[in-house]
């Protein structure tokens, strides 16, 4: 339970929040200055389990400034005392003690922070003291720290250590000050060295602190933008230790991040590194394509390569493919092969992250990328080809795409018709002509896809992807006496029935949003996306204390309904479902539409 801290925004495990210090709301991620801390200027009280006043933390009295409890490592004799106390403590933050011990081994770094984050309530802040540097701060916040301090920066000043964004160097080794902070632009490295020791220490400490402060600002900007992951992938390059930490996070802590990663962002997703393949967004998309997507029953399964422009349909290459197959589209199920997402069905091309990712295209695929994309294709074919009666598979692929496809098909014993010759470009006249001819041959008579069918299939697939199979067809199937209309320009479609809007595609987020009527229509499919609230009628937002229960699988930016004795509404989740349940502070759901429920 917190009193002076509140989380406002989340990007993965990282958060932006506010800590009220002496009435002033300070934004987190926050950098404490040890000088002000020790001067008592930062009215924050941290109590250790060995202190005689530890019991104060069990009571709400005397809670007049932000306060925290020290988290102890398992090796500490008072570890259990603290662990058992956590559920009953009235604190705003927890402080990770012995933090420096995790700097020896990357796995310890990961383990200690994640263990701490899992042990404490999600609405409390985590302070990782004494070890922050401009180099590791982004990663600390990425894993879930909210508070750091400049103690290490200051002590480094005493140790003649000059911090840089990507590490630290001894002042002795520097030939020039590689920085433009107020300290470094006011004197040369020689002048800095020649200062008397007291002055030199202060200047170095100030530079180190300014650098750290700048880093905290950068991290905040990335959290707001939803691009912290990209920034962290960039930052960890500075050391094998930090890179190892990120890899361990990806490989061994999937659940921790899955529980915290938003379902959508209004920000591009750059897959520039080998770690990008392991992102939650990538894994989640691949698994939902298998579990929450029903391909249409069509004779031909056509595999196409991805394009740089997203959604693919708007790219020059896909416009050409479309032209070649337009007359037979009613018989064709299109999937796009791509790295790092694997397989993107045409109907899901607008979905996050399918319309949002970008990768460096060189024509060279590394082994892991090949392995991953092949495994996605293989799983897709195994699951769907027979069930959805795709009689023939056509691959309009060249180069590595073709190679991956043919190897996978051979493994599975599936016949594939290839419409590109060796070394031929997929958009070459010859290849496109061959595609057109083979499709015509295989399909026989022409079967176009109506505009409505195309749009409806998108809305259906997106609803299934977001809410689970079943929701989509319930949403778009016409019932007796209904007049269904899908309007809007691709991809911003709007579904209405008898003039009432039910759902919209929001291309900025790669999501489908529901209106109250839309939510009512598919309510029985939304059990996993339902937030139960208390007996009140929410206005702008549903706050965490008003949440009675929420499904575990709700994620930030998920479309959810909320129901209570007095209200039914629809909105966007601002925190994960488990977090809504465990938090006592913060916005749980941004309300889009709400109606009063008739009391029976």
């Amino acid at each position: 339970m917190t009193k002076f801290y509140e989380v406002r925004r989340r990007d993965g495990a990282a958060r932006i929040g506010f800590l009220s210090l002496l009435g002033e709301k300070k934004q987190t991620p926050l950098l404490f200055h040890v000088e002000s801390l020790s001067a008592g200027e930062e009215a924050i009280k941290v109590i250790h389990a060995e202190d005689s006043n530890f019991n104060e933390l069990f009571q709400e009295e005397l809670w007049d400034v932000p306060r925290g409890a020290v988290l102890l490592p398992e090796v500490h004799p008072l570890f259990n005392k603290v662990q058992e106390a956590i559920p009953s403590l009235h604190v705003d933050c927890y402080v990770l003690s012995f933090a420096s011990a995790m700097l020896n081994i990357p796995r310890e770094f990961v383990r200690r922070i994640i263990y701490a984050r899992n042990a404490i309530p999600p609405d409390t802040a985590l302070w990782v003291p004494a070890i922050a540097t401009a180099e590791n701060a982004a990663l600390l916040f990425y894993i879930g720290a909210d508070l750091i301090d400049d103690l290490n920066a200051v002590i480094n000043g005493y140790q003649s250590i000059y911090q840089v964004e990507e590490g630290a160097v001894s002042l002795r080794e520097l030939e020039e000050l590689p920085c433009t902070c107020s300290v470094c632009s006011s004197l040369t490295v020689e002048e800095l060295r020649e200062q008397n020791s007291k002055e030199r220490v202060l200047l170095l400490a100030k530079h180190n602190t300014l650098l750290l402060e700048k880093e905290v600002k950068k991290v905040k900007a990335h959290i707001r933008a939803g691009s912290l992951r990209e920034y962290v992938e960039l930052k960890v390059r500075s050391s094998p230790f930090l890179t190892a930490v990120l890899r361990i996070l990806d490989l061994e802590n999937e659940e921790y991040f899955e529980k915290r990663t938003p379902v959508a962002r209004n920000h591009g997703m750059m897959a520039n590194t080998m770690e990008s393949l392991k992102r939650i967004e990538v894994k989640r998309f691949a698994s939902r394509v298998l579990e929450r997507y029903e391909p249409p029953m069509r004779k031909i399964l056509l595999l196409l390569p991805c394009s740089a422009r997203k959604p693919y349909s708007l790219s020059p290459s896909h416009l050409k493919f479309r032209e070649a197959i337009e007359r037979y589209r009613g018989r064709i199920h299109e999937i796009i092969l791509t790295s790092p997402l694997g397989v993107v069905p045409r109907e899901l091309e607008v979905m996050y992250p399918a319309a949002f990712y970008d990768i460096p295209v060189t024509g060279y695929w590394d082994a892991e990328e090949r392995e991953w994309v092949s495994s996605c294709l293989r799983a897709y074919l195994e699951r769907n080809v027979r069930n959805y009666k795709h009689k023939q598979i056509v691959a309009h692929l060249s180069g590595t795409y073709k190679e991956l496809c043919s190897r996978t098909a051979e493994d599975l014993g599936i016949d594939v018709v290839y419409t590109c010759e060796e070394g031929e470009d997929v958009t070459s006249k010859e290849a496109l002509k061959r595609l057109k001819e083979r499709i015509a041959e295989l399909c026989g008579d022409t079967t176009r896809l109506s505009g409505f069918e195309k749009k409806a299939s998108m809305l259906k697939a997106m609803a299934d992807y977001q809410f689970g199979i079943g929701a989509g067809s319930e949403l778009v199937s016409r019932k007796e006496g209904e007049k269904i209309k899908i309007s809007g320009k691709f991809p911003a479609y709007k579904l209405s029935v008898n003039g009432d809007v039910l759902a919209r595609i929001v291309p900025e987020y790669g999501l489908l949003t529901l209106t109250l009527k839309g939510a009512r229509r598919i309510e029985r499919f939304l059990t996993a996306y339902t937030v139960q609230i208390g007996d009140f009628l929410p206005k702008g937002s549903v706050l965490a204390p008003g949440v009675v229960n929420a499904d575990e699988q709700i994620r930030v930016n998920d479309e959810v309904i909320f129901t209570g004795k007095m209200a039914f509404g629809v909105g966007r989740a601002k925190m994960s479902g488990w977090e809504m349940v465990e938090s006592r502070k913060g916005v749980a759901v941004d309300v889009r539409e709400v109606e009063e429920v008739e009391q029976s």
Partner: protein
């Protein structure tokens, strides 16, 4: 059974010690006897019991006999440690104790006889075993007057009250008490450790004639070693030792400290550059009790850069939350191993 090993002490050596009774340094013979070892064996930092063996009482006397061959010609102090308790019957029987006392009296030149024991073994009878020995001193490893630190962090298994009771028996029996205090138990920060040892010295000064400050070092195969390996412990800075000794001395208490392992990673250490000089100063202080040799360290500006680091760490101790900030570079600097 390795009989030749059992007939030899673990170690014995000759050096100087401050002879408080006459306010001067005289030679001291230290003997570490191999016995059945300490029965408690639970202290976090202690690995001494690993020296124990299945020895007979005759072996023990043989060990002492061999050690005494190195006795100096002049008067000296004899210190016998057993890696356990000299008054524990399971280590040294009453008979053996009496024989040892007899031996000490026979040598004649032994001006002071110091043995170590846990307080639970102190009794009027057992002290009586040693009657007739000149200047008998019982050393007790209290480590700290803080019961919480002692029981939770050191796992010593006795209380400050137990110590006080034992000390009173010793004093009533006509002997003196030497109290071992531990500088920096595990889980105690540098600053709190210094404060604790000073406060403890004040609290035991009524009971003990001498305080021996034990600068915590990492012994093999101990729980403390495991903590240290994982980065949860750093032995005290030598600057802390100097500070504590000066503060205790200020209170008119006789204090000494054998800087075991000083300058090594496993022992009390500073940055690697100034360690040796400080170690020598502490040793010199031990036998002179002249605090100027320590003050000299400041005035004479050994003033290593690391002293400012140490001072800053103490200054911000409350916000370290037990982190150890040596700095990447410093940790790579040569600390003798």
């Amino acid at each position: 059974m390795n009989t030749s090993k059992n007939k030899n002490p673990v170690a014995s050596w000759l050096d100087y010690d401050y002879f408080k009774e006459e306010r001067k340094a005289i030679k001291a013979l230290t003997v570490i006897l191999r016995t059945a070892g300490c029965q408690w064996r639970k202290c976090t930092m202690c690995g001494f019991w690993q020296e124990s063996a299945d020895v007979t009482q005759a072996d023990i006397l043989a060990q002492l006999d061999r050690s005494l061959r190195n006795s100096p010609e002049e008067e000296f102090i004899l210190k016998i440690f057993t890696s356990g308790s000299f008054l524990d019957e399971r280590e040294i029987s009453s008979e053996t104790r009496k024989e040892i006392a007899e031996l000490v009296r026979k040598v004649g030149r032994i001006r002071k006889f110091i043995v170590e024991t846990r307080p639970e073994f102190v009794s009027v009878e057992r002290i009586a075993d040693l009657k007739g020995v000149e200047n008998l001193e019982l050393a007790i490893g209290l480590e700290t007057a803080n019961d919480f630190f002692r029981s939770k962090y050191i796992k010593k298994g006795f209380s400050f009250d137990d110590y006080k009771k034992a000390a009173e028996i010793v004093i009533d029996g006509g002997a003196t008490v030497k109290t071992y205090l531990l500088l920096k138990p595990p889980f105690v920060s540098e600053k709190k450790a210094i404060e604790d040892v000073i406060k403890s010295a004040e609290l035991v000064s009524n009971y003990s004639s001498t305080i021996s400050l034990n600068l915590c070092n990492i012994q093999k195969y101990t729980p403390l070693e495991a903590l240290w390996r994982r980065g949860y412990y750093r032995p005290p800075w030598l600057w802390s030792a100097v500070d504590a000794i000066k503060e205790i001395k200020k209170r008119n208490i006789v204090v000494m400290s054998d800087p075991v392992g000083a300058g090594y990673k496993r022992g009390p250490h500073n940055c690697g550059k100034c360690d040796l000089e400080i170690k020598e100063a502490i040793k010199k202080f031990n036998i002179t009790q002249d605090v100027r040799v320590l003050e000299h360290l400041d005035e004479n500006e050994i003033e290593c850069e690391c002293k400012e680091v140490w001072r800053a760490l103490l200054n911000y101790d409350a916000f370290l939350f037990d982190s150890i900030l040596e700095g990447k570079r410093l940790s790579r600097e040569k600390i003798k191993v």
